[in-house]
């Protein structure tokens, strides 16, 4: 149930071919939390989500209480696959139907309703490949909602898409939180994460910091996470210049 939608990791470690991707990560997220997972490229953000889903071999302890629903990065979908927007959302019903039963009228009705929630009722019959990046991301969000999960794991759902689509997705996330569901989102946008999330997890192969924006987005902490120059601007936004060889741009 949504009230029990808790995500716990304790000394969670993952390595690929002997190279550590995550080590000794620990946190607890309770129902209604919207957690932003931040960190530089290769910090292990996607790996953390996949570990929570049980898709990578991990040591330590992971407990996801409640059904997970997942939105992978947009690039994982096939361009060539002949399917329309509604069809993609209906696919979200397959796991609930046990992968054998065919979606019925009530599943289609729910899918159409969810497409409406992400503002795409008029594109229901459009081929998925004909939609814009933002529209596709909204369709994938609706597919995750069709899974009726208690814990939403979103891998960069706001990256590289238009403002209105971002606003729609954030609105949907807000509604899910209001129902007591836990939302975990990876992102590169520190400012947006600071504004929208109530909990930030800053990763760089290990958990560098965990807390509110005020606690996490400090120059010291950011420097440790990004191993780079950090400039704090008014309002708490940060400009980060990854890699010391680019340091001339940071002034």
């Amino acid at each position: 149930m949504a009230a029990g939608a808790t995500v716990t990791a304790d000394r969670l470690s993952v390595s690929f071919g002997g190279r550590p991707a995550l080590s000794e990560v620990g946190f607890t997220l309770t129902g209604g939390t919207f957690a932003g997972v931040l960190g530089p490229n290769g910090a292990g953000k996607t790996t953390l989500l996949r570990a929570l889903l049980g898709m990578v071999q991990a040591s330590g302890c992971i407990e996801v209480r409640g059904r997970p629903a997942y939105v992978p990065q947009l690039a994982t979908t096939s361009e060539a696959f002949p399917i329309d927007a509604l069809g993609v959302v209906v696919m979200g019903r397959y796991p609930r139907l046990g992968w054998r039963r065919r979606p019925g009228r009530s599943d289609r009705r729910l899918a159409a309703e969810l497409l409406g929630q992400v503002g795409l009722t008029d594109r229901a019959r459009s081929p998925f490949s004909a939609l814009s990046g933002g529209q596709r991301q909204r369709v994938l969000m609706a597919r995750a909602l069709a899974q009726e999960g208690d814990v939403l794991l979103l891998d960069e759902p706001l990256t590289g898409i238009d403002g209105p689509s971002q606003a729609t997705i954030l609105e949907v996330i807000g509604a899910q939180r209001a129902q007591g569901k836990t939302v975990v989102m990876t992102t590169h946008d520190l400012g947006q994460a600071a504004r929208e999330c109530d909990r930030l997890l800053l990763l760089n192969r290990t958990l560098i910091a965990d807390g509110t924006a005020g606690e996490v987005l400090t120059p010291d902490v950011l420097r440790r996470a990004y191993e780079a120059e950090v400039v704090m601007l008014a309002g708490g936004a940060a400009i980060i210049d990854e890699g010391a060889h680019h340091s001339s741009h940071s002034h």
Binding site: G54, M55, P72, S78, A80, F81, M91, Y94, R100, Q147
Partner: protein, 277 residues
């Protein structure tokens, strides 16, 4: 139109062809959507040494021989291809060339074969036995049954594997089942179309269907229908012109694909004009 089919051997070929068009069309859709066109061509070619051995040693027979060769090829490619340094068809290409070489060596040494080499490579109208027809029917039934059971998993793991795997679609098992079905279908189609041109049935009709259809169901129906049409016309042409059926079937498919590409190009040009108007 029906004149070429007025003799029993042509009727056998037609029946086998219509039956095999079902699994070829059904599985071909997934071959195209999963980027397995080169792989499925290679499975066909890889059966060559198996067929040669089977013809040379009647106790084995070409069907069992080619089934063994297809299985060995699938196992070899899938076990080596997990090494990320040789991805992207390199292993498939290498195994294909190796199989062809082994076949050529066997042909002139161990298994002295009286069957003309063209009919092994390009198929034969005369070679379709009643047992072949039964095998085609089995391949059709297997493909229909397996796809009906696996459709949701197959669709989800083809469209978005990263989502389907944690959602419980078990994509690795689906891959395995698809490859086994593909191997059996390829081997079943061999007597009619030959080792080299079996991909004419598994690749060309569904690729053509993809150009014409934007829905999975429609694409699948279209692929099966095109496959059947390609076989009927290709067999008739083979009889009339006295050429190997594998060649005429693939040629008919090629013409069909070109026509569909022209239709698709015309369609998108029209919609561009409408958008700009």
């Amino acid at each position: 139109m029906l004149a070429p089919f007025d003799v029993p051997y042509m009727q056998s070929a037609l029946l086998a062809g219509l039956l095999i068009s079902v699994p070829c069309g059904l599985l071909g859709v997934w071959v195209i959507l999963r980027g397995l066109a080169f792989f499925s061509h290679a499975v066909g070619v890889a059966t060559f040494p198996g067929v040669v051995l089977g013809l040379g040693f009647p106790a084995l027979g070409p069907f069992a021989g080619s089934l063994l060769a297809a299985g060995a090829f699938g196992a070899a490619v899938s076990s080596v291809e997990t090494d990320h340094r040789v991805r992207g068809g390199a292993v498939t290409g290498l195994a294909l060339a190796t199989a062809m070489a082994i076949g050529a060596v066997l042909l002139t040494t161990v298994a002295k074969v009286s069957t003309p080499i063209e009919s092994v490579l390009f198929g034969s109208l005369l070679g379709i036995s009643d047992l072949d027809i039964v095998r085609c029917a089995v391949a059709a039934a297997l493909a229909i049954g397996a796809l009906a059971a696996l459709w949701p998993r197959l669709a989800a793991s083809t469209f978005d594997r990263a989502w389907a795997a944690p959602a419980g679609a078990r994509p690795a098992r689906i891959d395995g089942a698809l490859l086994v079905l593909l191997g059996f279908t390829v081997v079943t189609a061999l007597p009619a179309v030959g080792s080299l041109l079996v991909s004419g049935l598994l690749v060309i009709p569904p690729a053509t269907a993809r150009l014409l259809c934007d829905r999975l169901g429609a694409m699948t129906a279209c692929a099966v229908a095109l496959c059947a049409a390609e076989i009927v016309i290709g067999l008739a042409v083979a009889r009339e012109l006295d050429v190997a059926p594998g060649a005429s079937i693939a040629a008919v498919g090629g013409v069909g694909f070109a026509l569909a590409a022209a239709v698709a190009a015309g369609r998108s040009a029209r919609s561009r004009r409408m958008m700009s108007a």
